[in-house]
Structures are given as structure tokens and as C-alpha cells.
Amino acid sequence: MAKEKVKRKISRREFLIAVGVAGGGLLLGTKVGLPFARLKVAELFDSGAAPGGMDADATAWFLITPDNTVKLFIPKSEMGQGVHTALAQIAAEELEIEWQQLEVVQAGTGQGLDDGFGTGASNSVSTMYQPLREAAATMRQMLRIEAARILDISPNALTAQNCQFISSSDKSITYGEIAEQTQTWEIPETTPSLKSKRDFRFIGESAPRVDLREKILGKATFGYDRRLPDMLYGATARPPKIGSTLKSAQPGEAASRTGVVKIVIEDDFAGVVAETREQAYGAANALSLEWDTPKIWQQADIDALVTVGQGKGIQIQKEGDPEKSFAKAPIIEAEYRTPMAFHAHLEPQSATVDVKPDRVDVWAATQFPVRLREFVAKAINRKEEEVFVTPTFLGGGFGRKIGTEAAVEAARFSAAVGRPVHIGWTRPEDFHNGFLRPPTHHTFRGALDGKKIAALDHQQASGAVAFPFLPGAFKAILGADFGAWRGARINYHIPNKGTTAWLPELPLATGWWRGLGLLANTFALESFIDEMAFAAGVDPLEFRLSHLSADEIGKRRRDVLETAAEKAGWGTPLPAGHALGIATSTDVNTVVAQVAEISVTSDEIRVHKVTSAVDPGMVINPDGASAQIQGSIIMGLSSTLVEEVYVEDGQLAADNFNRYPLLRMAQAPEIDVILLESGDQPFGMGEPPIGPIAAAVANAVFSLTGQRLRSLPLKFT
């Protein structure tokens, strides 16, 4: 099913053409829906397609200006993953222009076609690759037809290069001139043929990031930086404990505070708008509030809920009959846990909103502008068509900025005062009022037949990831939360295997986090595979290789495992006190293997080097891909070694980095990245490389010390 989009052509009705935009330009867009099958959602999601129930339109469009610049409008949010650069490369390839002739513009809602999916799931490049090439090639063909008309020459006699057409007789015309001199455009009935891979000039090259110059100058506008004339600052009252609801609110002492412009008290919401940020926060703290807190939660309550067997279990994988094997052979058992984690993007939630009588403008660090438009419209009782959301740069997203509550708050405040309002959450607000990576619990049973696994069963319990964001009917069809079990299914070729996902209801919000369940599930599964290898008396690399399927994906997994192992010196002598561990994962069809080299001193784990082989299909920008792999490894290692947050007396124990430290440079290993390209289709790069790291380190720790650490962060107790 997922392949269908590749073959699909852009039809006449899917074009958006506007002439006369920005002083005589050509606006051309494409909107291609990604097909999905509801009942096949598990397989589809595993293979990188968007889950059903979400609109997965891929959009982008171009504008040619008379000064011969091509503007590429991209609705995808740039949060450091380099998506604007990768998409620009894809567009430039078919347009036949030079890098400096292309300008990337962040598109907002209502500015052209909406992107109904938002930015996430590592799918921006994979879903846009083909449609963007087709759109660019079509535009080039449309320009060619008009160039031929203007120059009175055959279209075939023209060559596109350097943002212009030239003829053998030395006639030439720039794209800008063509756009300026054309009133109506002829749309090709079929997509022109695309460039072949061997002629690529941009795709596959390490083009420099288009957003970095303004970032190193301190000029890039993040959500926290957006400023408007006459702008005020807002601060919202926060529930003191998990589950607290606002019982009553009075202005109290806040009313007499300096700088206060308005106190806003609505049903479940209280806050202050003031001239400065500090005045707003000071006054919000001085509001007279009463909260209802039905229960004071402790971490033990959460752990009890997140336990295999609690609530409803849905089987998400079943092959053969594991129970039959377990009856015949000794069972190897183990259980694993992973804690809750913050996203800890360094830019807390932020937005600026200007509510006017005729329109509402929202600038926000958001991964999901279309959904935010809906929330803002609803909160202030306006029509969605009146609300325009433009993403700023994001100071990190990692899934958390799929929800952009700060913008909804700013909208309420701006509606109340009739002036633009900026909201920038504090770090404690950001830690205590978001959703978290859910805690997980895993139990495994395995049985060996000689040196091979005869049966393997994975029972996994996790707080929700995708479900809080999906409509109820859809949850009923799915049963299990595909975000929570991402990475939980067993890819190895094992005759009898099963995976069951348990979904408890938790009192605190959990949701999207880089890779969704991938890091937690891979940690548990790939650690247990290591336990099975040890029980079988087989080298962990050999053991994995001996359980790969014979098909294409099995071959790709073999390539990354063998490559990572070889480059890391698997099986060769290491410095004294060092050991290696290996792990692998597959996510959105990108296969990853990592080898960690570690030592342990005074119970402290030191990761010296991580070797990572990745096959993401086709690579658009090798340096950008490498950056994503390095970043995923560091973020994953931070979860492996230091990060955890727990509930204490009704609230999350950490409200700042003093109680939730992140990995620092001194703890960062050397990272060796090997990109193994395969095929003609890019898969995903933002999340897959975060999969194996925790297990690779834990497996190395076992190899060195004989101790199997079964919870994150890894600690010797």
C-alpha cells in the first residue's frame, strides 16, 4: 500500500497555480495524500508510513520571483533536524538551479496548502521525496513550454541550467523573466521524466544547512523570540500537584500589582497579562486560588499501574505457538523497566499570539501548526479559517512540541486584552505541565533449541504515547497504542514468537518522545536477546546474525550488524578494562546497529566510543544524516546513563536541571558513523538511530562485569 504514493502522478486538479503573487510570480504546489489501510496500521507504521486516522498530506510549493529567485515554501517545522535543507536539495535537483538561487521559506497555515500531518515520525523526507521531485520537474517543464513560446523556439531545443533556459543558438531567458511574462500556464498531462540518480548534483551531497548562518549570528527567530509592537506578557496559574483542578480563583493581591493589565479568570484557567514578563509571573503567583487534589500520587502507585498484567493486554504479534515450546524446554525469564523522561528541549514552550477582530495570528515553536490552529480557534471561539499559525524555528522539539499549549494560553490572553501577548514558559513550568516519555515494564520468556531461540514472548506495559492525541473511535479499532509499542515487536527470525502490549491509564500525561517507544522497547528486547545469547553460549553478534530472516530486510540488518561490529573491532583485543556491546533496531524501515565500547570505574559507566552503522535507504544529505545519528546517540545515551524523573508526594520530583541533569560533553563518547545506502527511496533519520544505544551499553556492561542491568538509567545497586 505504502508504495502506491511513489507511482502516483500529480493530476491537474491537484495543482495550485497562482499568477501575480509577489509581483508577477508563479506559484505551484502539490498535495499528495499518503494511502493507508486501517487494519494494516501496525505493519504500515512499522514500515514508516503515517498511521491511519491522521491526515498525511505532503505539501510544499514554489514561488519564482522576477529577480530570478525560487522560493520554496515548506510547512515542515525546522527543529534542528535539517529538514529545510534536505527538502531544498530535493527541489533544487529537479529545478536545475544553483544552491544560492533557492530560498527556503517557512510556510504557515493559510499561506497555501496545509500540511495535515505536522512534523514528526521521521517522515518529512520520506513522504516528500517523490512528490517534491515531481512538482519541481513539472514546474521546470511548464517553464520550458513558456520559454519556448517567448523565445519562439522548440521546447526541446532548450536546456535548463542555472535558473534559466538556454538554446544552442545562444538565446536565453531566466525563470524569473518567464514567470513575469506568462499569464496562463499549460499544465503537462503527465509528470515529466525525473532525473536519474547518476545525474544528481544535490541529492546525496552534504549541502550546507540553509538555516545555520542566522543561527550562528543569534538572529534566528525562535518561538521565545517573536516580538510584536505593543506586545504584553502572559503567565498562567499552574496546578500544584498531579491531577489538581481549579476549584475557585479570585484576583486577590494580584489586582494591585504594578504592570498588571488584566487578570483573566475562566472556567478552568487563571492567569495574568502584564507589561513585563516578571510582572506577569509575580502577579500570577499572587492570585488567590483554591485547587482540588483528589489524590497525592507516589512513584510506587505509578509503577504498580505500569506492570504487565494490569489493565488490558492486546497481542500485536503472534507467530507459531510460543506456549507449546515453553512447555517443552527450560524457560529463561527476565523483566525490565524504563523510567519517565522529559524531552528537555532547551527552548521551553513559547508562542506569540495577536487576536484581532478579523484575524488571529499565531507564531509558535510548534511541530503541528494545523492542529494548533484548531485548538486556538476552539479556545477563543473563533473560526479556524480566521486563525493563521506560522511555526518559528524550534529550540528542540523531540515530539513535545506536537502539543503547543503556550500558544493556546497566549490566544486566551490576547483575546482578553486585544493586544499581542507573548508566552514563554519557565523551565519548571515546562517540566511540570507537559507530557512525558511514558514509563515502561517488560517481561520476557524465552526458550532455546540448541543454539537457536525456539520461542520468545515479550509482554510490554507502557503509558500511552499516541492515544491521547487520537479520536476515541480510532483507539477502539487499534486497541493497542502503536506509539507505546514502537520497537516492541520481535524482528528476529524465530519460529514461535509473540508480543503483547498492556496499556494502563496513568494520572499524568505521557506522549510523543523522540522515537516514541523505540528506545525503551529496544533496550529491553535487545538486552534480553543478549541474555539468550549468553544462555546459548554464543557470541552476541553471531547469535543475532543466526536469527536474521532470509529476505531483503534481513540482509540489510546483517549488513549494519556486520559493518558496525567490524568497524568497532568486534572480536579483536581491546584496551584493558574495556568491553563491547552490540544492539540493533529497525524503525520506519531504517535499520541501525550500534556497538558501544565502555569501561567501568568505581561503579561509573564510561562510554568511550559508539560505532553506528545505519541503512536509511537513500541518503539525501550525508552530513545531515550523520548529525542526526550523532545527536540521537547522545540523547539516547543521556537516557541510558543519567535521565529519570519520578513522582514524589503528588508532583514530579524534578522541576529543573539540578534534579534532572542531561548528558554533558565530558560524558560524550567518540562517535563513528557509517552510512550504508540502499535503494532509491529515503526512509527516516530523525529517530531510528536512538533505538539501540541503551541496549548496546547495557550489553557491554554485562560483557565486562557479568552484571545484567535491567532498568534505565543504568546503575549498579
Partner: protein
């Protein structure tokens, strides 16, 4: 009261003096290149130079830096009369090595690196780690920051040998 920021003098009113420098820079003077990350002096995103020393602007009341030279990311390079920007070697190196991802922590990283290289123009890897260790990067660019600081040291050496 007057503040000297990036070689320019700004007059600020009395009510601004008790504000933390990060908010005066960002909200009052529009210098939004300096970022808020934690408000507790831990993450380092808000780092500016005060008389050449890296300083957490989120914990620095404006009144305490009235008679000092403040440098923010906007003043790290040099803007020529024609408006052309000459990048600081640190900025040049961070760009060359394509170090930033989201970029949010990068003002703090580059300001810290500039101070480090000012003290020690030829740092060994351990010196770079010691100097840069207190600035968080959530995108995980530490490997490249190390490379970038080393590269900046090379650029500085090249420049000084060229006179």
C-alpha cells in the same frame, strides 16, 4: 543607569535595574540572541561575556553589570560600516563544521568558546571539554562542538600568523 553592550551604550530606566540581564537584553533591548533555558544558571544557554568572562545572564541582575563591558552573540562578530558581518573565528568554525542543530543553545556555546579561546588560544581536547562542559546541548552536538572549538583555535592561529 547605562549598560555597555557590544560596544554600544544603552540607557535603562531605574525599574530595569533589578531585572535579570537576560530579560533586559531580550525584552527591553530586543537582543534576543541570548536565550533563556533554565533560569537557574545550569544549562548555559543564556551565557554572555561580562568583561570577557562567561556569565549566566539569567542570574545576573542588570544593576550589577552597569560599569562593565557586556558582549552577546550579536556583538561577537564585527559589523563593518557597509553592514557586512565579519564572523568571529568561533562563529566561522561552528558554521564550517555545521555544528548547530536546533541552534537554541548555540549562543551560549559560542560565547563560552570565545572566552575559552581568549584565555587559551591553543587548547588541548581536555581543555576544550573542561571549558565547554557546563553548557548543555540537547540536540547532542557535543562531538561537533569539540571539533568546532578546535577548528576555531586553528583559525585564530592562522589569523595571527598572517599578522
Amino acid at each position: 543607569m547605562q549598560l555597555t553592550i557590544n560596544r554600544q551604550t544603552y540607557s535603562i530606566t531605574e525599574d530595569q535595574e533589578i531585572r535579570m540581564l537576560v530579560w533586559v537584553l531580550r525584552d527591553q533591548l530586543g537582543l534576543t540572541g541570548t536565550k533563556y533555558g533554565c533560569g537557574a544558571g545550569i544549562c548555559g544557554s543564556c551565557t554572555v561575556l561580562v568583561d570577557g568572562k562567561p556569565t549566566r545572564s539569567c542570574l545576573t541582575p542588570a544593576a550589577t553589570v552597569a560599569d562593565k563591558e557586556i558582549t552577546t552573540i550579536e556583538g561577537l562578530g564585527i559589523i563593518q560600516d557597509g553592514g557586512e558581518e565579519i564572523l568571529h573565528p568561533v562563529q566561522q568554525a561552528f558554521l564550517e563544521t555545521q555544528t548547530p542543530q536546533c541552534g537554541y543553545c548555540m549562543s551560549g556555546q559560542m560565547i563560552t568558546a570565545a572566552a575559552l579561546l581568549d584565555d587559551n588560544p591553543a587548547p588541548a581536547e581536555e581543555d576544550i571539554i573542561a571549558g565547554m562542559n557546563d553548557v548543555y546541548c540537547r540536540c547532542g552536538t557535543y562531538v561537533r562542538i569539540k571539533e568546532a572549538v578546535a577548528r576555531a583555535a586553528e583559525i585564530i592561529a592562522e589569523e595571527s600568523s598572517n599578522g
